[in-house]
């Protein structure tokens, strides 16, 4: 990738942060929602709060990362600002990357805040390298998933609705609240098709360390990487098609 493109990507991320992400709607969608959700479960089973932390952090990751992708992608396509960006020395593929990395950066900030906050508050010991590794690949796959969904439709509301589908299904099926092993057998298959499953598993590794028996941590990371590529490559292509 050329220096020009890298510079454009950097400044597009910066601009999206400033104009869309670091605004009350994205912040509240990214943090308040997972917090409220976790609180609701905590009130039913107060003894298990520490158990809920990996799921809460994972939810923050997916909700914040995808919070404004419909706006940065569909809205900009609609009003022509995306076409404007394309006048600069950057390709449609580069813009696709810039847009998803914007979600990534915002997700990173928000998740870090929630993770640090809750581990300090609850005195949880975090394996930082493992946590960061899982976090980075998770954010990448969520951001790619979101961007892929956004470029596959036209309107903002379509993108928002379609984004909610995986977001909510994953809360129930990815071991955020109920462990996957407690799910009916046929649902477990679906669980393993969801990136969030590997995120939650990875975070449990980072928190519980040696005692936790789950999927191999490196497998988690590999699967998340595969998910990312599976969304990035066709998503990029679809955005390119829009400008032919």
């Amino acid at each position: 990738m050329s220096r020009d493109s890298l510079r454009c990507i950097f400044y597009i991320i910066l601009k999206d942060m400033r104009t869309y992400y670091l605004k009350p709607p994205s912040i509240s969608w990214g943090i308040i929602f997972p917090l409220a959700w976790t609180l609701a479960f905590y009130l039913r089973h107060p003894q298990t709060f520490a158990q809920l932390v990996p799921g809460m952090v994972a939810m923050t990751a997916i909700f914040s990362t995808t919070a404004a992708e419909a706006v940065v992608i569909n809205f900009e396509l609609r009003v022509g600002s995306m076409e404007r960006l394309l006048l600069a020395p950057i390709s449609p593929g580069g813009i696709f990357l810039a847009k998803l990395l914007g979600g990534f950066a915002f997700g990173f900030l928000m998740t870090l805040v929630v993770a640090i906050g809750s581990s300090l508050a609850l005195g949880i010991h975090l394996n930082v390298p493992i946590f960061l590794l899982v976090l980075i690949f998770s954010l990448l796959s969520f951001a790619s998933l979101g961007a892929f969904i956004c470029v596959s439709v036209k309107e903002i509301f379509e993108a928002q609705t379609l984004l909610n589908l995986p977001r909510f299904i994953m809360i129930f099926l990815s071991g955020v609240i109920t462990p996957i092993s407690a799910l009916p057998h046929y649902l477990q298959y679906i669980s393993y098709l969801m990136p969030l499953t590997y995120t939650v598993d990875g975070f449990r590794h980072a928190i519980s360390q040696a005692t936790y028996q789950g999927i191999n941590i490196w497998l988690d990371i590999l699967v998340l990487l595969v998910f990312s590529l599976a969304f990035i490559l066709p998503g990029r292509r679809m955005l390119e098609r829009k400008f032919e």
Binding site: R7, K15, T19, G80, E83, A88, P89, I90
Partner: protein, 330 residues
């Protein structure tokens, strides 16, 4: 043939299909360094489509173009870095102020950090937007948005600028000041590729004009060359105070070999380059036929005449077009 270094843009068989629809049909032309090159045609002629290809925004279906010596198919990013573009729609960021929009453009085009604010302020000054410095783009008037869109094409001081209808929607004064800016840019050596609907504007501003219709190139020439190619040439329009159909028919007969068109019961149009002789004969004939001369107007062919003759569009179509953006198909 011009020396090679004089040509900054060359289209070779440039063609664009949208599905089955042929929007741009095998365009061949070149633009010389330092000229204002007008690209003129009715709605839907393919002007914007051509600009989008030339600015490496959308790939041609066939043929190619060389912009600043680079192939649009092979070096889109290098080309984009070196040209300035003001697109047809004013699509800067609503949520950013006038100044911040320009600074963002500086960032995208790699203007050094220290220079950015200075450049942006300079452009605001030139485009009379200084007191709108901190106003959000969405709160600017339509004309100010247009001006800022053109300004944003210049942040990196490109040597070749594409302006797609820069003056559309501007009031007379703003349009005039924008034309002055374009001339200043040309005087600084910047080449301008300009599309416009305003024939008078093209006439005043352009060094050469390409006429296109339905995606095809009709003719390229200087404004003078285009006007000179109008077959009917100069003409005089004469109004008589007490004219009538019968006398005018007689006058028409006796004015031969000059071509005469009777416009109505009291007005005729006489075509010919020898204004002196026409006047003399009209004066004489009007006395003989008992009519009194009321007014004489002389007409030179305008670019509009050339446009109408060359594109085959009726004057009504053109006048509708100039009023506003009414789509004319075919």
């Amino acid at each position: 043939m011009l020396p090679k270094n004089e040509i900054v843009l060359e289209a070779r068989g440039l063609t664009k299909y949208y599905g089955d629809f042929l929007a741009v049909d095998n365009l061949n032309f070149s633009v010389r360094k330092g000229e204002i090159f007008g690209f003129l045609g009715p709605n839907g002629a393919g002007k914007t489509t051509t600009i989008r290809m030339l600015t490496a925004l959308s790939p041609p279906s066939d043929g190619t173009a060389y912009v600043l010596g680079l192939d649009i198919r092979e070096n889109p990013l290098e080309i984009k870095a070196r040209i300035g573009v003001a697109p047809e729609i004013s699509n800067l960021y609503d949520e950013l102020s006038a100044l911040d929009n320009l600074i963002f453009m500086c960032q995208l085009y790699g203007v050094p950090r220290k220079e950015r604010v200075k450049r942006a302020e300079e452009l605001l000054e030139i485009f009379n937007l200084k007191d709108k410095r901190n106003t959000l783009f969405r709160k600017l008037s339509k004309g100010m948005k247009r001006a800022l869109t053109v300004a944003s094409a210049l942040v990196h001081r490109p040597s070749l600028v594409f302006l797609d209808e820069p003056t559309s929607g501007l009031d007379v004064l703003s349009a005039r000041s924008l034309r002055m800016i374009m001339r200043r840019l040309r005087d600084m050596g910047v080449t301008i590729f300009l599309t416009t609907h305003y024939l008078e504007e093209a006439d005043m501003l352009c060094d050469r004009i390409a006429l296109i219709r339905s995606g095809k190139l009709v003719k390229i020439d200087t404004p003078e060359g285009l006007k000179a190619s109008v077959s009917e040439g100069k003409s005089l329009e004469i109004r008589f105070r007490n004219g009538n159909e019968e006398s005018l028919q007689e006058l028409k007969k006796r004015m031969s070999p000059f071509k005469v068109t009777i416009l109505n019961g009291e007005r005729v149009r006489v075509y010919g380059d020898d204004i002196g002789e026409i006047c003399e004969r009209i004066t004489k004939l009007s006395k003989e036929l008992g009519m009194e001369l009321a007014d004489i107007f002389s007409f030179n062919p305008t670019l509009e005449d050339a446009f109408i003759e060359l594109t085959g569009l009726s004057p009504i179509v053109m006048s509708i077009e100039k009023e506003g953006k009414v789509n004319v198909t075919g």
